[in-house]
């Protein structure tokens, strides 16, 4: 195991987390489920007995008038509504005294008759007899005509009924366990990095310098664990060494200034020069503490922040739908889409401004500033009473989201060296994706159990937690006040990027439709469609989680493929085509859950395939612009343009619904996305390969 590498230590500790979390929770959940099932059985028995008594009473009355059992009429009409009104009861039957089935409703006669004929029906008392027949629990009650037993009424309920009713609990437990593992992973990563590998990585840089005679820095340590103690030992040694050096230099100065013999002064000077030639000590009079920013510092806060936002992903349009009645003369579907569209618009507008603000006030302060509207937005969303204020609070949350995420991007880009920017971006993307999986899934469960509004309160609490983390951990991250930042080129320069046809085609026909599909289909149409089909929020969330899961699986393979083949434009084109075709699934499979699963999976594959190559393509397509404006600005502008697709997606989908219905809207969106992908596929054939420098002729 390498001491300064998180990987192996993290794997071991995550294995421990799986052991400590999954094992006890699985045992307890199964035990609890068993107890719950046992607790339900008496209630089902009582219900079956009540139904059985009622049927027996009515049939016995008819028998009392002298009608033989097999001559009863209208029994089916009597049983059918009873079975319909009590879904836990699977069948009702009437048998004669020897167990021949005379009437039965709900299951096939042959399933039960052999059992009834072999059973000792004389043993059935007034309270009835319960027996297990295959998958059913059967309660037999006597039918009396006067003093004689003329037959029996059988009430059967499904033995798995309770398990089926409680199966949601198991699904919830599975979701909570998976989400907890994701949170555990993030926390362990944080613990390992902050306490072990981060300080040791820093120490390695320091000992490398010291190995070459540079003793200007000492490691810092505030913790009292094993690593902290070790760092203090190294620090002590270096301070001791520094002390000896300072003592020597003080002595040298004393001899130089006080000695009368110039020859001795010169020789002492030589000694001092030799030491200063061999070793470097801090010129400030004492060794300086070595501090370094790391991309991972902000990961947990970013994770918590995005996690908070993802909690409402699966039900946002449904929540809007509940408030939609307050907007007259506007189609309800459009009203439901507006909070998502305006949230995205707020992010698109605020992100460039937040990027500039990050340079001025620093990432820490920007994150804390962004946490304020995000918290207020979430809390007020929970309290919103109409559509207009919901839109206002969601827009405010969007501004906060843009500020906080830009603060994280800014922190990461400053923390990593330019040649390791992709690694830094990986930290950002990984935190967002894991938060997307855990937050979305857990949000559905929380919303199902405690309600939609309280879920926004949970979001607000998580945002505050994230802000507290940033406030505590990034105290020294901000630039010094008044620090001169180079003024970035203005928006007009960025707009000139659109003159680069390759960039424009990539944005308009690949990036924008990808975002349109994401927000229009996944964020808007999926929750609305599934909810209309009677799915609960927790179930909707479980299906929506497929998207980030597929992305997580496909992205690394796609990135490797893109690096290996260098066929980035082709990969983006293929990804777009897959996404477009996937959205046409309702045309083939109908509007049911299967087509939704297929579409979401296709969307995950599509975005997993094209996201990384699309980013990697930008420096090649905009080689000149990247040199002139900087990679970050070009990337930022591309994000702005693609977010226009995020805004358009839900609105377009909502406009399609009144025209073609839910499935038609999905297919309509698919046609739009597919058409744009086809245009990109054709145009990308003319891209060529390598950097494009012809736009250098563009007058700056």
């Amino acid at each position: 195991m390498k001491l300064d590498s998180s990987r192996s230590l993290l794997i071991r500790l995550f294995a421990l987390a799986v052991l400590v979390l999954v094992t006890p929770l699985s045992i307890l959940s199964l035990r609890a489920l068993g107890e719950f099932e046992q607790g339900m059985v008496p209630e089902l028995d009582k219900k079956a007995a009540a139904i059985g008594r009622d049927v027996a009473g009515q049939v016995s009355r008819a028998l009392g008038y002298g009608i033989p059992v097999d001559r009863l009429v209208g029994v089916d009409e009597f049983f059918s509504p009873m079975l319909e009104a009590n879904p836990e009861i699977r069948y009702l039957a009437i048998t004669d005294p020897v167990g021949r089935v005379k009437f039965i409703n709900g299951v096939d006669r042959d399933e039960l008759e052999p059992h009834y004929r072999s059973a000792d029906m004389n043993a059935v008392g007034a309270d009835g007899v319960k027996s297990s027949i295959g998958a059913y629990m059967d309660l037999a009650l006597p039918l009396t005509a006067g003093q004689t037993v003329a037959g029996h009424v059988h009430v059967g309920f499904d033995q798995n009924h309770i398990a089926t009713r409680l199966s949601d609990i198991l699904a919830d437990v599975a979701v909570v366990i998976v989400s907890s593992l994701i949170i555990a992973f993030e926390i362990l990563l944080f613990v390992v990095f902050v306490n072990v590998t981060g300080p040791l990585k820093l120490l390695r840089d320091l000992v490398n310098r010291a190995g070459h005679g540079d003793f200007t820095h000492v490691p810092t340590s505030g913790s009292d664990d094993e690593v902290g103690r070790f760092l203090r030992a190294v620090q002590g040694t270096l301070r001791q060494l520094d002390g000896r050096y300072r003592q020597l230099m003080a002595y040298v100065d004393e001899v130089r200034s006080g000695h009368f013999d110039k020859g001795v002064v010169a020789k002492v000077g030589d000694v001092a020069d030799r030491i200063n030639f061999l070793y470097r000590f801090s010129p400030s009079g004492k060794p300086e503490p070595m501090v370094e920013r790391r991309a991972t510092d902000i990961r947990l806060a970013l994770f918590l922040f995005v996690f908070a936002e993802e909690l409402s992903r699966s039900f946002m349009p449904l929540f809007a739908g509940r408030l939609a009645s307050s907007v007259p003369n506007v189609p309800i579907d459009l009203v439901m889409a507006l909070p998502i569209a305006l949230f995205m618009a707020a992010i698109a507008i605020a992100s460039p401004l937040a990027g500039q603000l990050a340079e001025r006030v620093g990432p820490r302060r920007l994150f804390l500033i962004g946490a304020v509207p995000a918290t207020i937005g979430s809390l007020m969303t929970a309290a919103s009473f109409g559509m207009f204020d919901l839109i206002l609070w969601r827009t405010l949350t969007g501004f906060g989201y843009a500020m906080a995420t830009m603060a994280c991007q800014s922190y990461i880009s400053h923390a990593v060296k330019s040649d390791r920017r992709a690694q830094g971006l990986g930290v950002y993307v990984a935190a967002v994706l894991t938060a997307g999986i855990g937050g979305n899934a857990l949000g559905g469960v929380i919303a199902d159990r405690i309600g939609l509004r309280p879920t926004f309160v949970v979001s607000a609490i998580l945002v505050v937690l994230a802000a507290m983390l940033v406030s505590r951990l990034l105290s020294s991250a901000d630039p010094a006040p008044g620090e001169d930042q180079p003024r970035p080129p203005g928006g007009r320069h960025l707009l000139r990027l659109l003159r680069n046809w390759r960039f424009t085609v990539l944005m308009v026909f690949a990036a924008v439709p990808a975002k349109m599909a994401l927000t229009g289909y996944l964020f808007f149409l999926v929750p609305v469609t599934l909810s209309q089909q009677g799915w609960e929020v927790a179930e909707i969330a479980r299906i929506m989680v497929l998207y980030p899961l597929v992305m997580v699986a496909v992205s690394p393979l796609a990135a490797r493929l893109a690096d290996g083949l260098g066929w980035r434009a082709g990969q983006v084109a293929v990804g777009g085509l897959i996404g477009g075709v996937g959205l046409l699934a309702p045309l083939l499979l109908g509007g049911g859950p299967l087509s939704i699963v297929v579409s979401i999976t296709a969307l995950g594959v599509s975005h997993g395939m094209s996201a990384s190559p699309q980013l990697a393509l930008l420096p090649d397509l905009c080689w000149t612009e990247c040199r002139r404006l900087g990679n970050t600005r070009v990337l930022g502008f591309s994000r702005f343009v693609e977010r226009l697709g995020s805004v358009a997606g839900p609105i377009l989908a909502a406009l399609f619904i009144p025209l073609w219905g839910m499935s038609g809207a999905v297919a309509g969106l698919g046609v739009v996305v597919l058409s744009m992908a086809v245009v990109f596929a054709i145009a990308s054939a003319a891209y060529g390969s390598g950097p494009h420098i012809e736009t250098e002729e563009d007058p700056a």
């Binding site: 421990l16 009582k46 009622d54 919830d172 437990v173 306490n195 060494l241």
Partner: protein
Amino acid sequence: MAWSLSRKVSVALLGILLSTMVMTGAFGYYKFQSVLSDQVNSRYSFVVFTIKRKIEDRLALGLALRALRQIQELAELEKARDSQILGIQIYDSNREVLFDTDRGTIGSRVPSTWLEPLSAQGTQPFSLTDEDSALVGLPLVNTLGKVEGAVVLRYPATYLEQELGRLLQRLAGEFAVVLLGSAVLSVIAASWLLRDVRQRLVAMENTLNQSVTKGAPAKPGRDAFEGDFVRFCGKAREAVEQIGEASDEVERLDRLA
């Protein structure tokens, strides 16, 4: 109290475990409560439905609700069948109690709020709560579709809590035992997993002390990090010696006067 690495990891894991257990426990409990409550309601709704049907059969014969004397026996029979049923009442649309398993209340009036569900819900079962009891009821409708009154069944509001309380107590005990077991396991396992890190840090610290202060040669490292650290120790030792020699030389030169 010193916070060792294994303690930090264990506390983080146990914090997550505890919150996950509380969350799954709470979610599971509320789901079970809701399913059980639905089941209890559905059972009592059925009992009320059977009484309603019998009353409406008689109303269909043109009899007045007030005149259906057998209903009193019917209600008492249903109550006798289930010890959890506190009472069954039949009241008319003027709020007057016509039949009640507690015969003393016949002739009294039900709260006016009990009439609200009759107009609002038509033929659907409705639920009400009284001081310490829960009620399930169904309106009584004659053949002309006019609501004549309602039949309500009363059962203890604490019935569910009693049923669930025992279950919860048992499960809470098991939760505590499992949490304790996991805590012990997590502390031991974290300590074992981090043993290598701890031992190597101690070894490097010893190397540093031996090498720099006592001048002993540093042992070669197990990996690149330890290799770099050994080089650092050597360099630090070398610097100590160089500075020491330089100090001696300066002192010697100073004394040359």
